[in-house]
């Protein structure tokens, strides 16, 4: 197991290397360069351009810059933003926690509601509850984040304020608020700032998770061993929890794992609409400005994180399904 983890960590680094290299190449293929983009229509004076290029090592060849980049990264320095001189290390420190907290709660909502509704829908297949939750799940997933966010902002923030509802019934429209946390637990009023973006973030995937877990659950409920368990006279809830759920979780776990990986990506719009300064929207902003160090620096950390998540998913598999062994071949 330990050696498996170490091996997978090595592979995760390989993934980071691959992703960074791909992005590096992409940025060289995408037309336009940072200096031009930042200066807009203005032509930058050659001396200034040279100063800037030298400062960022843009005067080197592509391979030179590539080597230079890794050299810096390996020394623990992700570099500085072309556009505003901010240290990427600093940016990461500021943003990663925000992203992680939002992602954590989004994911929690997603898992609790997604699996919960999915299981109930499967057990009460084709009941009114099943159809209604199915409809709601799909409808929520079918509304773009930027529209859903706006609806929530108006429904829970703007209108209550305009109608002079009591303070507790109003939600903030934007921002991080007091930024008070115990690790991921919001303190004080912080939860009010967290809840809307977390819901919006969760809505994107909850529908999918609901359906996946419903489907896997149905599959499992019809499996022989569950029938056997039922025939043995076990209580229905015991059967569902002990026998069915565990086995139904495998595909759901895949989706959730993917989601952990992609959550920063999904969060771009949520972060934008609610002005939650996380990694996703930051990467997006700097990607448009072709601010290569920031995008590469932050993205490679996200990639590393994603590779870890995918590792956890694989470990999770082996826990849920002992047949999926991590190391050795099946013996007898």
């Amino acid at each position: 197991m330990a050696s498996y983890l170490i091996r997978r960590l090595g592979l995760a680094l390989l993934v980071v290397w691959g992703a960074v290299t791909i992005m590096f190449v992409m940025f060289f293929v995408i037309p336009g360069n940072t200096i031009d983009i930042l200066s807009g229509e203005k032509v930058v004076r050659p001396e200034i351009r040279r100063t800037i290029e030298k400062e960022w090592g843009l005067d080197k060849s592509v391979t030179g810059q590539y080597v230079h980049y890794w050299n810096r990264v390996l020394h623990g320095d992700l570099g500085k933003s072309y556009s505003n001189n901010r240290s990427v290390n600093e940016l990461f420190k500021q943003r990663a926690a925000n992203s992680a907290r939002l992602a954590f709660w989004g994911l929690t909502i997603e898992i609790v509601f997604g699996i919960g509704i999915g299981v109930i829908a499967a057990v009460r297949k084709y009941s009114l509850l099943d159809v209604v939750t199915g409809f709601v799940a799909v409808a929520l997933a079918g509304i773009p984040v930027f529209v859903l966010g706006l609806l929530l902002q108006y429904g829970l923030g703007v209108r209550p304020a305009q109608w002079n509802w009591p303070r507790w019934a109003r939600f903030p429209v934007q921002g991080m608020g007091p930024n008070r946390w115990f690790v991921v637990i919001p303190l004080g009023h912080q939860w009010k700032y967290l809840i809307l973006p977390a819901i919006v973030l969760a809505c994107v995937q909850t529908g999918f998770i609901t359906r996946i877990s419903r489907t896997s659950m149905l599959e499992v409920l019809n499996a022989d061993y569950v029938r056997t368990a039922r025939a043995k006279g076990l209580r229905s809830s015991t059967v569902i929890v002990k026998h069915a759920l565990r086995n139904a979780l495998l595909p759901t776990l895949t989706v959730i794992g993917l989601d952990v990986i992609g959550l920063f990506g999904v969060a771009v719009l949520t972060e934008t609409v609610f002005n939650w300064p996380g990694l996703g929207s930051t990467i997006r902003d700097y990607a448009f400005a072709q601010d290569v160090p920031v995008v590469l620096g932050l993205a490679s950390i996200v990639v590393l994180f994603g590779a870890m998540a995918s590792l956890l998913v694989d470990v999770g598999y082996s826990i849920l399904d002992p047949r999926v062994r991590l190391t050795t071949e099946k013996v007898d």
Binding site: M23, P144, F146, V147, I212, L250, A299, R323
Partner: protein
């Protein structure tokens, strides 16, 4: 013995003898009202897409500033947008673009993920390592960089958007498939099939896939919706299909500016989108049930 269900316990014992498999599947599918309704909806939608020029009265790109933001009326029964374009017309023509984009995305990425995921799951080893780590790379690349890359290299064309969405989305179903295959591959009937002399291809197609297909059906149904939605996200970010092409995602995205003063701009395309995703979901459910032999003969 007591632990198993005897044939008599499973519905009509004689049923299986009389009715061929597909007839039974059809029968069971047709008994599912939601699924049948959904098929009707999809057929209707396809007809609307195909017959769009015949069943609409304006051009999809025909603007009429005088009729800007018109409420649904007799002349424009889904109202008009900011440029006075008929929403119904754009919705009908948009079905062409959005459905074909979605189907292209789903078909390409399902085939790709089938190949990658199923093989990775079945063979494991280096192939698994390479493909799954590649999937890791792709799923963590910031999508904006990928889309920027695609549109700046190939231009802002519909197929480029399809390609970009596939490039960003194949990993999901590939992983799902891999998980399914991993689960199925350790079953004894796979070994039995090998002992029976089945080739790898036959095992994959006849035994592994049919048993691993459940989550994929859901993923395809949702894939159609999320492809259309991604199109709107790209539109929101300014890297999607260009106006004035009528596409549902674009229409939903544009409606944000007039969410409260012209809600019909949002309601109709978003409604069509949600209904479409729902329809494919219900069809998926229906197929699932109809194809599941364990539900055979059951109501």
């Amino acid at each position: 013995m007591a632990a198993t269900v005897t044939p008599a316990a499973v519905g009509d014992a004689g049923l299986g003898d009389l009715i061929p498999f597909w007839t039974d599947v059809r029968r069971r599918f047709l008994r599912n009202k939601l699924a049948v309704g959904s098929v009707v909806y999809v057929v209707l939608l396809s007809l609307i897409a195909i017959l769009a020029p015949l069943i609409t009265f304006y051009g999809p790109k025909k603007i009429n500033p005088a009729a800007s933001l018109g409420k649904p009326s007799r002349a424009h029964w889904m109202g008009t947008d900011l440029l006075g374009r008929d929403v119904w017309t754009r919705l009908a023509f948009g079905a062409r673009i959005s459905l074909s984009v979605a189907l292209a995305v789903v078909v390409v990425s399902t085939v790709l993920s089938l190949l990658v995921g199923a093989l990775a799951g079945y063979f494991g080893g280096w192939w698994d390592t390479i493909t799954m780590r590649t999937a890791d790379v792709f799923s963590t690349l910031p999508y904006i960089v990928v889309v920027l890359f695609f549109i700046s290299v190939f231009g802002r064309k519909v197929w480029v958007i399809v390609l970009a969405i596939v490039a960003l989305g194949w990993m999901g179903s590939a992983r799902l498939f891999r998980a399914g295959v991993l689960q199925v591959k350790s079953q004894e009937y796979i070994e039995a099939a090998r002992a029976s002399g089945c080739s790898t291809l036959r095992i994959l197609t006849r035994h592994v896939l049919p048993n691993a297909i459940q989550p994929i059906i859901v993923s395809v149904a949702f894939g159609i919706g999320s492809a259309i939605l991604l199109e709107s996200v790209f539109g929101f970010l300014g890297v999607g299909i260009a106006e004035p092409t009528p596409a549902w995602g674009l229409m939903v995205g544009d409606a944000r500016d007039h969410l409260f003063d012209a809600p019909h701009l949002f309601f109709f395309p978003a409604g069509a989108l949600v209904l479409t995703v729902l329809a494919f979901t219900f069809i998926g459910d229906g197929l699932r049930d109809a194809l599941d032999p364990k539900l055979r003969g059951a109501k």
